[in-house]
C-alpha cells in the first residue's frame, strides 16, 4: 500500500476507533479525497480487522464500527454490561417490527391478538431499535414502524435481510398479510353471532364445559402422546 493511502487508512482507522457509536459513510468520505481512495482504504481496513483480529470492522446500513469478535466473548465477561431484559410484549413487538417492517401498530396488534400497552413502543424507541417509517397509504394514513441502524448494530446484523430464519418465514407465507381471525370475525353473519346473540353464547359457554368435554380433551391428549 502506498504512503498516501496508508495516511488515509490511519486517519479512518483512528476515526472509527475513537467513535464507539459508529461512523457514517458520509463522515468517512468527508475525510477522504475521492471515491477511489475510499474504496482502497475501506478494503484495506476490512482486511486488517478481519478474522485475524480480535476486533472486527463491520458495516451496517451505511455505518461503520469496530466491534470485538464474537468468538473471544467468553474472555470479555468482565466487561459485560448488566443486561436490560425486554418484556415479552416488547420482544414480540420488536420481532414483529423486524420481520414485518414496515408495519403499522394495528398490524402488530393483529398478530399478537392484543393491543400494545402504553410504553411498549416507547421502550423500543428509547433503546434506539425502532423508528417510525413513513405512513401507510391506507385510510387514516397510519404510521409504519421499522428497525433502525441501532438495531442492526446491537444484534450484529449488516442488513435486515440477515435476520435469522427470514427466508424460511417468507416461504411459509406467514410474513405476508393473510386472513386473520379478526377478519373472519368481521364477517357479517359472524359479528351478528358474536354481538347480538352474546347472551346465548355465554349460556352456551356455561353449558359447554362438561365432564364429557374434559374427557374428550384427555382422549385427544392421550392420542397425541
Amino acid at each position: 500500500m502506498d504512503q498516501t493511502n496508508l495516511h488515509y487508512c490511519r486517519i479512518i482507522e483512528a476515526l472509527i476507533f475513537a467513535s464507539p457509536d459508529s461512523v457514517t459513510d458520509k463522515i468517512i468520505r468527508q475525510h477522504l479525497p475521492d471515491d477511489a481512495t475510499y474504496d482502497a482504504v475501506m478494503e484495506q481496513l476490512l482486511n486488517r480487522y478481519s478474522e485475524n483480529s480480535g476486533i472486527n470492522l463491520i458495516k451496517f446500513d451505511g455505518n461503520w464500527a469496530m466491534r470485538t469478535a464474537v468468538d473471544v466473548a467468553e474472555h470479555l465477561k468482565t466487561i459485560r454490561e448488566s443486561e436490560k431484559t425486554l418484556s415479552r410484549a416488547a420482544l414480540e413487538t420488536l420481532a414483529i417490527i423486524a420481520y414485518h417492517q414496515p408495519v403499522t401498530r394495528a398490524e402488530i396488534e393483529e398478530i399478537r391478538g392484543v393491543s400494545i400497552s402504553k410504553g411498549t413502543l416507547d421502550i423500543l424507541l428509547e433503546m434506539g431499535w425502532v423508528r417510525p417509517k413513513g405512513r401507510r397509504r391506507t385510510p387514516g394514513r397510519p404510521i409504519t414502524w421499522a428497525t433502525s441502524a441501532g438495531f442492526l448494530d446491537h444484534f450484529g446484523l449488516s442488513q435486515i435481510t440477515d435476520l435469522p430464519g427470514l427466508d424460511e418465514l417468507k416461504k411459509t407465507g406467514l410474513l405476508t398479510a393473510g386472513q386473520t381471525i379478526s377478519d373472519v370475525m368481521r364477517a357479517d353473519d359472524l359479528s351478528h353471532a358474536v354481538t347480538d346473540d352474546n347472551d346465548e353464547d355465554q349460556l352456551e359457554l356455561d353449558e359447554l364445559i362438561t365432564e364429557d368435554d374434559i374427557a374428550i380433551d384427555m382422549a385427544d391428549e392421550a392420542e397425541d402422546e
Binding site: 466491534r67 386473520t180 381471525i181 358474536v194 365432564e211 384427555m218
Partner: protein, 262 residues
Amino acid sequence: MNDSFDDDLTVAEARQAGQLSLFLVLDGYEGPIDLLLDLARDQKIDLTQIAILPLAEQYLAYINNARELDIEVAADYLVMAAWLAYLKSRLLLPDPEPEEQMETLDMAEALRRQLLQLEAMRKAGKELMALPRLGVTRFKGAHQEQFNPVNVVSHTATLFDLLQAYGQIASREEASTLTISASHLYSVEEAVARLGDLIKYAKGWNNLLSFLPPNLKTELDHRSAIASHFTATLEMVRDGQAQLRQDNQFGPIYLASTEEHI
C-alpha cells in the same frame, strides 16, 4: 354435570397429569391468542397439524373454569370464547351446506394461521436475543478519544428526544387549557369607554338595553354586558355625563346624555 366435588376431582386429576392447565391465571397471558398458543403447545404436535376442535374446547374449558373461580375475564377473552364456541358448533355440524363448510374451513384456517404467526414471531424474538448482541457477546471500543476541544460544536438529538419534547409540550398545553378556563366577561372599563362614545350620538332618553353591544353569544355574556353597562352608567351619572331614569320597579332603565349634541 355431577356435583362439584367430583368435578374438582376430575380437574385435579387432569392437572396432576399435566394435561390441563386450568388453574393458570389469566393475567399471565398476553391475550387470547397467547392462551390458545399455550394450550396448543399442550397438544405437543406440529402447529401446522393442530386439531382445531379440541383446541377450541380446551380454550372454552379454560375460560369457563376461570369464570367459575370468579376470576375476572377480560372482554377480548370472552369475544374469542364466543367465536370459538361458534366455530366449535360449526365443526360439529353433521351435514353443513357446502357454503357453510367453506366458511368453517376459513375460520379454522385463520385460527391456525394466527397461531403459527405468533409462534413464528415468538421464535424469532428468541432467535434475535440469541444473536451476538452488543454488550453481551460483542463490545464497543471503550476508549473515546479526548480530542482538544474545537469551536465547532455539533448538536445531536434523536427522533425520540424530539418526539418526547413535543409530547411534553403538548401535555403541558393540555394541562394549561384545563386550568385556565375563565370566560371573557364584559368589563366595566370597556362599558364606560363604549357608552361614552355611543351616548354622544343618542338623542333623548334611550333604553339602556339598546346600548348593549351586538354579538353577545351566550346568556352569560348578555348578563355580564348588562351588569357592566349599568355600572358604567352609574359612573357616568356621578361624573355628570349622563342621567338615568327608571319609571317603575323592574321597569326598563333609560339613559340620556347631559349634553345636547347636534
